[in-house]
């Protein structure tokens, strides 16, 4: 029982990263119809930024947790204006290629300066202990991540469902053309939403720095799973991406714990789940079939 609870907890912690990343991808896809391949690279930049801020300027974790997401959101907005924006009228493949190229460039720039080896980043001292849950104790930092990620997801959900800003974003996401016909400048919302999605990736990166290896390729493997998460949740579905993020974290953790005798299954469980979901619901768990234009 204790073991099960611990594995569940860990699954949720991994899931927290998936959820934050998938949420960003989902809002970007919803608004721009762009599959942002560079999302993993921005996650990496978040972690690396925290490392650089600490070592070059002595900026602590807590400040990095604000500075990096905001800084990367601004960078994302600049990139959207400079490049992504120009290609949105063309086949989505163009933006996929653009963001893929961007990924390679960002990875290589970091590699050029800091090498491929992982860079050290320590857990902030306030979160270095363990929390006692009676049956078991759990690293404070993990509890913090889980709480923080859930709070961010709930906050984003609240803004999206309960505010006028959220309403407009939902409308732009669901039917951009119709929304323009109702007097709303959809284009003006695109840039900040792109920046926001990138900021979420950066936030996940800063959170990852103390517990994951910080290196130029840290986002490259992760992002493949996050794409699977987004597909499972339903492309562009905000709720779906978060739910699938936590769900896949759990499935992976349980798979590792209880299917370790079947490594073939536990290693590929994410993609097995994805295949099953797509056969059953081609638009993903919470996705809608695109309305005919």
């Amino acid at each position: 029982m204790t073991g099960f609870l611990q594995n569940t907890f860990n699954g949720l912690v991994s899931g927290a990263f998936y959820a934050l990343l998938a949420l960003g991808l989902a809002v970007i896809f919803g608004m721009l119809r762009v599959v942002n391949f560079a999302h993993g690279a921005f996650y990496m930049l978040g972690a690396f930024g925290a490392y650089v801020l600490l070592t070059e300027a002595g900026v602590p974790f807590w400040a990095a947790l604000v500075i990096m997401p905001v800084g990367l959101a601004l960078l994302g907005m600049a990139l959207e204006r400079a490049f992504v924006h120009r290609l949105t009228r063309l086949d989505p493949l163009y933006n996929f290629l653009l963001t893929f190229g961007l990924t390679l460039i960002l990875q290589d720039l970091v590699k050029l300066r800091y090498g491929v080896q992982s860079s050290p980043y320590e857990t902030p001292s306030a979160l270095n202990g363990s929390v006692d849950f009676g049956l078991f104790d759990f690293p404070t930092y993990r509890v913090f991540i889980l709480g923080f990620a859930v709070a961010v997801c709930v906050g984003v959900w609240w803004v999206l469902t309960r505010t006028r800003v959220g309403m407009v974003v939902r409308a732009c996401t669901e039917r951009p053309e119709l929304t323009r016909a109702f007097g709303i400048d959809v284009g003006r919302w695109v840039t900040p939403v792109f920046g926001f999605g990138i900021g979420l990736a950066g936030l996940a990166g800063v959170l990852a720095a103390p517990m994951r290896a910080v290196n130029p390729l840290m986002g490259a493997d992760l992002i493949i799973v996050v794409f699977a998460v987004v597909v499972i949740g339903g492309l562009g579905s905000i709720f779906g991406s978060v739910a699938a993020g936590f769900g896949i974290g759990l499935v992976q953790a349980w798979g590792e714990a209880y299917l370790s005798d079947f490594p073939i299954i536990s290693q590929t469980i994410v993609f097995i789940v994805m295949a099953v979901v797509l056969l059953w619901r081609p638009a993903g768990l919470f996705g809608r079939e695109e309305a005919p234009a």
Partner: protein, 417 residues
């Protein structure tokens, strides 16, 4: 950039042309002692990926240092004035490694290929060396198959292998830290090989593997907590967690090992394969007390340190054991050619077989004739606590020297040269 590539390609084409016109292609240099009148060393390794720091371009630098030292030593008595280095990036992909190796031997007139990390790539290159009948010193790869079922007359395995790592760390840790082990390995060829080697070494030393798990590879979630949580709950409780992960995955395991406070829970840490660069990534504080087997350590003695200082002035960083081994391998090859008076592969192999060597990397070294395993002293190393780290990169103290004869396995009956 493109321009440079173009110019390089053009001049390479010129060289081929000139060589072609010069009468007597590479194979027919009957009167000269050297094919093409020169010696070409090829460094084939990872120049952009996970191993690019512990081998990569700095391995090329090490080989260039060896050439310079060789020339300085022999002056005009050197067998060749023209000794050059060719280099290529195999991206850790077996098929790329194979085609680059063929290109090196056939078109770049390479006499010997060096380095080649990543076991699957290393084995492919061994096949090419055998087919082309050209020399190959593997340094960067760990698989014992290079001196086992895949051994061949032209392939030598230079620095380390999975047996050496397991034997050193597994045996000593079992004797000194605790008998009960939990092994965590990445579930692919290298990890499985390491798991087997470690289990054998642990059992032979009177220890017991109470559990072993293959973690997904690559571990896309970056999370190993399932396994780390499992370790202290096993019965009997393991004294040691042996992790066979490498590079970034090793970093993740160790970070999370510390997060879950396994050391405080009485589970020590032993690492299958670790490079000095990994310790740098994690900081000595995260690894303090961890034991592992090292093929060479830059600050072990005065001779190593002198080499490390020179290396640092060339590259700006301290050498990994792979860098030192590349230097040594290039040196020993050039010495063998000098002694043989020719770069003819079969003659050079004959000269190398059974040779006893002592240099900055090889201590009590011997190039075994039976399987072409290059044996030498290995070291049981322990990561220092942060407080004892006196200077950058000085992260390790050597607990024990493992004599060459014990460090490596006996020649395998699977190997027929």
């Amino acid at each position: 950039m493109r321009r440079t590539v173009g110019v390089t390609a053009a001049s390479a084409a010129m060289v081929v042309l000139v060589a072609g016109c010069g009468g007597g292609g590479p194979q027919s240099g009957g009167d000269g002692k050297l094919t093409g009148g020169s010696i070409v060393l090829g460094v084939l390794n990872d120049q952009s990926g996970a191993y690019s720091e512990l081998s990569g371009r700095n391995s090329v630098k090490a080989v260039e240092m060896a050439i310079a030292d060789f020339k300085a030593k022999y002056g005009d008595k050197a067998i060749a004035e023209d000794i050059t280095v060719e280099t290529a990036d195999h991206q850790n992909k077996p098929d790329v490694a194979s085609s680059k190796a063929q290109e090196m031997y056939d078109r770049k007139s390479v006499d010997i290929i060096l380095d080649v990390p990543t076991s699957s790539a290393a084995l492919k290159v061994a096949d090419v060396a055998k087919e082309k009948k050209k020399l190959y010193f593997n340094i960067g790869a760990a698989t014992t198959d290079l001196t086992g079922k895949s051994c061949n007359k032209y392939t030598f395995h230079y620095a380390y292998d999975t047996y050496m790592l397991a034997n050193g760390t597994g045996k000593t840790t079992t004797e000194q830290v605790g008998k009960n082990w939990y092994i965590l390995y990445p579930n692919y060829a290298f990890g499985q090989d390491m798991e087997k080697s470690f289990s054998t070494a642990i059992t032979a030393a009177g220890g017991k593997v109470v559990g072993s798990d293959g973690a997904p590879f690559p571990n896309t979630s970056g999370d190993f907590s399932t396994f780390l949580l499992k370790a202290p709950t096993l019965n009997p409780k393991p004294d040691v967690l042996g992790t066979m992960q490498a590079g970034a995955e090793l970093v993740n395991v160790v970070k999370q090992y510390n997060e879950f406070k396994l050391r405080e829970k009485g589970v020590g840490l032993a690492v299958g394969l670790m490079f000095i660069t990994d310790i740098h990534s994690l900081t000595p504080a995260a690894l303090a007390g961890t034991t592992y087997t090292d093929a060479w350590y830059w600050n072990f003695d005065q001779q190593n340190r002198a080499f490390a200082d020179r290396f640092q002035s060339e590259t700006g960083t301290r050498p990994s054991f792979a860098h030192a081994a590349n230097y040594s391998a290039a040196t020993q090859y050039l010495e063998a050619v000098q002694a043989a008076g020719t770069d003819d592969a079969d003659t050079v192999v004959k000269g190398l077989e059974g040779k006893e060597v002592d240099d900055v990397f090889l201590r009590n070294g011997k190039i075994r004739a039976e399987d072409h395993r290059v044996i030498h002293d290995a070291y049981l190393a322990q990561v220092k606590p942060q407080s004892e780290v006196a200077e950058p990169w000085d992260y390790v103290k050597v607990l024990k020297t493992i004599p060459a004869a014990e460090a490596f396995r006996a020649p395998s009956p699977d190997c027929k040269l």
